[in-house]
């Protein structure tokens, strides 16, 4: 049985075009390769130390 109140909470306001710029800047674009690079940097930094 669908609970109207609970279902309504799942609906979130959509961003309009004016808010697109902020949405782009706030995007998290981290991917697996970024994580690998970070791990590599940390590994090489540890070796230097």
């Amino acid at each position: 049985m669908i609970n109207y109140e609970e279902e309504l909470k799942k609906f979130t306001p959509s961003l309009d075009v004016d808010e697109a710029e902020g949405a782009i800047y706030s995007r998290d674009l981290t991917d697996v390769i970024d994580i690998l690079q970070e791990m590599l940097r940390e590994t090489s930094g540890g070796r230097k130390d």
């Binding site: 049985m1 669908i2 109207y4 279902e7 309504l8 799942k10 609906f11 306001p13 959509s14 961003l15 309009d16 075009v17 004016d18 808010e19 697109a20 949405a23 782009i24 995007r27 674009l29 981290t30 991917d31 697996v32 390769i33 970024d34 690998l36 690079q37 590599l40």
Partner: protein
């Protein structure tokens, strides 16, 4: 492909030719990104947009520089009405690869069609207002707004979901199903759409069909798809003959089959509908007549109650009239008696008094009545007694009996009246009546000279019966002639000796 450590161009080796870094994981990530892109593309091609988004996001998680995956993700977002999300992906894509990027064309197309972009932007703002109205409880307003939004932006899948949710809340499941059918044409595997449809199927007890209602028209519209599908299905299905020869017999047989199917369709589809319509009409008329009959019954009951009240009123009035009439009659008789008495007509006065209903008189009327009765009866008694005695002395015994009986009717305890009456009967030879009156004297004046004298004149039979039966004879005699019981009169003692002597002389003489 470039090394993630030094940026040098990589070859088939698992290590970077320049820095010697192990790039096998990087290469696997890029391969996986491409694999997910392919899966996303396949899903997008069959309009499994939710599945496509899932795959393309995974692809970008492995390689954010996968421009085709990002462009396709933006396109899928745009198809679902998420213009801002689509623009975001395309802008990022353009930044990653400024040249030879189709995302630039997408952005340019949108910017060129400013009117369309503005409409889409307005619909997004209105959607947000409608959502706010839902939260405030203004569902009716939200529904109107959502209908307008979806008319302007028919790809806004969230709008279909929200409108369906409102319909479900109001119990209008078929309308909700209709909206969700539109949503599922855009995205076939959207979990929200499928969840709402499952709820509707459970509530209505009928499963939602996703097949087009008019397959002929839809097949015409989807000719291109059908051709493609036909090509793909060709290997699975057996080849159909391109030409089939028919004979006259088979044509007639087919026509007969067609007629039979038509007749069966009429019988099973049209006739039940007609029967149902007639039944509904009959039910409606029955209900109408029933309500009319109920109204008539109610009216009859009301009128019966009014009639009963009227009858009671009439009865009360009649009773009052009868009472008043009886009172009037009683007073008229009383007045008549008073007038007759004043005029000296004692007979008329007596008759009038006898017709007076004493119970209808007031206390004052009763006093007048009693006074008049006393006066009139006294004078009448005296008149009858005088006349009777005179007639007796003149030996007119019949007249004497009449007058003395009248006097006895007024006062049955008067000794003079009883004595003369008894002797009058005795003189006429009516021994029975004479004995009755003598016995009355004995009972009225027991143990007196009057009683002894009466016994002297009584017949032997009556005397014997009186002695044997006690008072029986007296009672019988009284019942037969007079209902009055023998009483002792107030003035009986006063004149006892005078009358006794007179009578004795007369009787002996």
């Amino acid at each position: 492909m470039k090394c993630m450590n030094c940026g040098a161009e990589l070859n088939d080796s698992a290590y970077c030719p320049k820095c010697g870094c192990d790039v096998s994981v990087q290469k696997q990530a890029i391969v996986l990104s491409g694999l997910y892109y392919n899966q996303g593309l396949e899903k997008a091609q069959v309009r499994d947009l939710s599945g496509a988004i899932d795959m393309l996001r995974r692809s970008l998680k492995f390689n954010k520089l996968n421009v085709p995956a990002r462009n396709l993700l933006g396109l899928v977002y745009f198809e679902m009405g998420e213009v801002v999300a689509a623009l975001s992906e395309w802008v990022i894509s353009k930044n990653i690869q400024p040249e030879n990027n189709i995302a630039a064309e997408y952005i340019e197309n949108l910017q060129q069609d400013a009117n369309r972009l503005d409409i889409i932007n307005q619909t997004i703002k209105k959607y947000n207002i409608a959502l706010e109205n839902c939260h405030k409880g203004n569902e009716d307003v939200a529904m109107i707004q959502l209908k307008k939004i979806l008319a302007q932006n028919p790809k806004l899948i969230k709008g279909y979901h929200l409108l369906s949710l409102l319909y479900i809340r109001q119990g209008e499941y078929e309308k909700a199903r209709k909206q969700l059918r539109k949503a599922i044409r855009i995205d076939k595997t959207n979990t929200t759409t499928l969840r709402f449809l499952k709820e509707i199927d459970e509530q209505t007890g009928t499963s939602t069909s996703f097949e087009p209602r008019f397959s002929i028209w839809s097949s015409r519209d989807n000719d291109g798809n059908r051709d493609e599908n036909a090509a793909s299905d060709a290997s699975a299905k057996p080849a159909q003959p391109a030409f089939r020869e028919t004979t006259a017999g088979s044509t007639i047989f087919n026509i007969a089959i067609g007629l039979l199917i038509g007749a069966l369709a009429v019988w099973f589809l049209i006739m039940p509908a007609r029967t149902q319509r007639i039944t509904q009409e009959a039910d409606r008329k029955t209900s109408e007549y029933s309500s009319r009959a109920a109204e008539a019954d109610t009216r009859i009951t009301e009128l019966s109650a009014q009639m009963k009240i009227s009858e009671e009123t009439v009865n009360t009035a009649n009773t009052q009239i009868e009472t008043a009439t009886a009172k009037t009659t009683a007073y008229e008789s009383l007045i008549k008696a008073v007038n007759a008495y004043n005029n000296g007509d004692l007979d008329l006065a007596s008759n009038a008094l006898s017709s007076v209903d004493v119970s209808k008189l007031t206390t004052e009327g009763k006093a007048i009545y009693d006074d008049l009765v006393e006066k009139a009866n006294g004078e009448l008694l005296r008149g009858y007694k005088t006349e009777g005695i005179s007639a007796y002395e003149e030996e007119d015994y019949q007249t004497a009996i009449e007058c003395l009986e009248a006097a006895k009717a007024i006062d049955s305890s008067d000794y003079e009246v009883l004595s003369y009456l008894a002797h009058s009967y005795r003189m006429t030879g009516d021994t029975a009546n004479a004995d009755i009156n003598f016995q009355l004297i004995i009972n009225t004046y027991p143990d007196t000279v009057r009683a002894d004298n009466a016994r002297v004149y009584m017949s032997e039979e009556a005397l014997a019966a009186a002695e044997n039966g006690g008072g029986n004879q007296t009672e019988n005699a009284g019942d037969g002639e007079n209902d009055e019981e023998p009483t002792e009169g107030e003035g009986s003692g006063d004149g006892e000796d005078n009358y006794e002597e007179d009578n004795e002389e007369d009787y002996e003489g």
